[in-house]
């Protein structure tokens, strides 16, 4: 990779990392969607990991996670008299999202664009399911309450609308990452499974 390509990569990533979280937390969709917005941050991290490999996925995951913590972090309410705003939960979660998105199925799917939607679907589901498990545990631990969302609420009012919105919003994210950068031709040639000959075979959607 030449110096020019490296600078371009860093600049394009910086623009994505600054803009995507700002867009996600600045607007609300109309009430019929339960106030859900597409999780652009999750999509960006998952697609980056899937298309461009572990290092890109991990670093982008860490930085996007930091943005998530900064803009709209979770609150720890062990003591309801003095809840704290946590920093680091988003970083940790998105770091692992980036890493796993680059490892699970990325090679099996040969980093093909069309299969990126499957990856988005898979990781949206994983994120929501693990999120609900943790939320359930922390709700029971912190408040001592055993009341949490019912199974149907979890499925139909949380996982389903969020996953649907993510699938729709994945289209522009995937196209941006593929055609606008950070890599020329949308291919990270540093990856071992993407050689000069292989790219033509697998990268055409």
């Amino acid at each position: 990779m030449t110096r020019k390509e490296r600078v371009r990569k860093i600049l394009v990533y910086a623009v994505y990392i600054l803009l995507i979280p700002a867009v996600q937390v600045s607007f609300l969709l109309p009430a019929p969607l339960n106030g859900y917005t597409p999780d652009l941050m999750l999509l960006f991290v998952v697609v980056t990991g899937y298309l461009f490999g572990t290092y890109d996925g991990a670093i982008v995951g860490l930085l996007i996670g930091l943005m998530r913590d900064y803009y709209a972090g979770p609150a720890w309410t062990m003591s309801s008299d003095r809840p704290s705003a946590l920093i680091g939960v988003g970083m940790l979660g998105f770091f692992y999202l980036g890493v796993f998105a680059s490892l699970i199925f990325a090679k099996t799917f040969h980093r093909r664009l069309s299969m990126a939607f499957v990856q988005v679907l898979l990781f949206s589901l994983i994120y929501k399911i693990i999120g609900h498990i943790f939320a359930y545990i922390f709700t029971t631990v912190s408040s001592g309450s055993s009341t949490y969302l019912t199974f149907s609420q979890v499925v139909f009012q949380s996982i389903f609308p969020q996953t649907l919105l993510n699938m729709i919003a994945a289209v522009p994210i995937i196209l941006c990452l593929r055609y606008l950068g950070p890599y020329k031709s949308g291919i990270n040639r540093m990856l071992p499974d993407v050689g000069e000959g292989k790219e033509k075979k697998w990268q055409i959607a």
């Binding site: 600045s26 803009y71 940790l92």
Partner: protein, 297 residues
Amino acid sequence: MKKIISSKIFITVLVTVLIIIVIIFSSIPGNPIHSLTRPLSVVLNPIQNAVSFVGDRIGSFFSAVTEGMDIREENQELKEEIAKLEYELSQSEEATRRWEELKDAFQIKDTFEQYEIIGSSILTREADEWFSVIRIDSGSKDGLNFELYDAFAAVDARMNLVGRVISSDNDTAKVLPLLHEGFSVSAKVDTVNGIVVRVTGENQLKQSGLCKVSMIPEGMSLNVGDVLVTSGKGGVFPAGIPIGVIDSVHNDSELNRYATLRPYTNLYEIKDVFVMIPEPSDDDSSESIQIASDTAT
């Protein structure tokens, strides 16, 4: 050794441990870690404001196109209303003058007179149901100083409770909304000797825009339509801030009596919040003077 340090697993474990340390540290109330986000605020706030501005302009453009006719009619109605309100304003100004005179005369104090009210815009909304703290554009430079106070009440333009400020850096602060499952406030029914209850956010009710009302005293009951205000117990929220109205009452089990409350404020509809910062009372200053004189002697 060099091979181990550069291995992916080692880096992953190292990053994980470091982040867990940050999480644990940030969970300690009053930790200084939030002030370290100041450099981020300097970079991110202008970008976020620009994004919001562009989004609002685009939204306004489309609204103007689709609602053009409605706006014209509304404009005519508003002009008539302005004329009416101007007359009422002149009447009110006279009434205010008289009220101030009477207040001074009888030494009546406003409920929130001992609080400085700071207006703030909501910068960012929740990212999802777990990353659901909102950020406002007031920080420690505006007086949200967590070294002096534990928390600050956040209200809307009609003085209805919105949530509580839980951390701040120099320019921005995070607000825990009323519907958040970690939110809790002591409330009372807004009548003379109204019963004191506890209002908390709850996962199941959050999606319907409701809160849970619990700890209803034995032998007492709530009714649908009862208005709840903050009781002032606990010291975080001053007494008398309107919270909402009772939406339903559940007395099925004696051990689990609760009600649901519909808050007055809807976070999705507001763009500004007002933070109540306690002003140092005369007692505090006299105490300080006393301490100072004791120290001097």
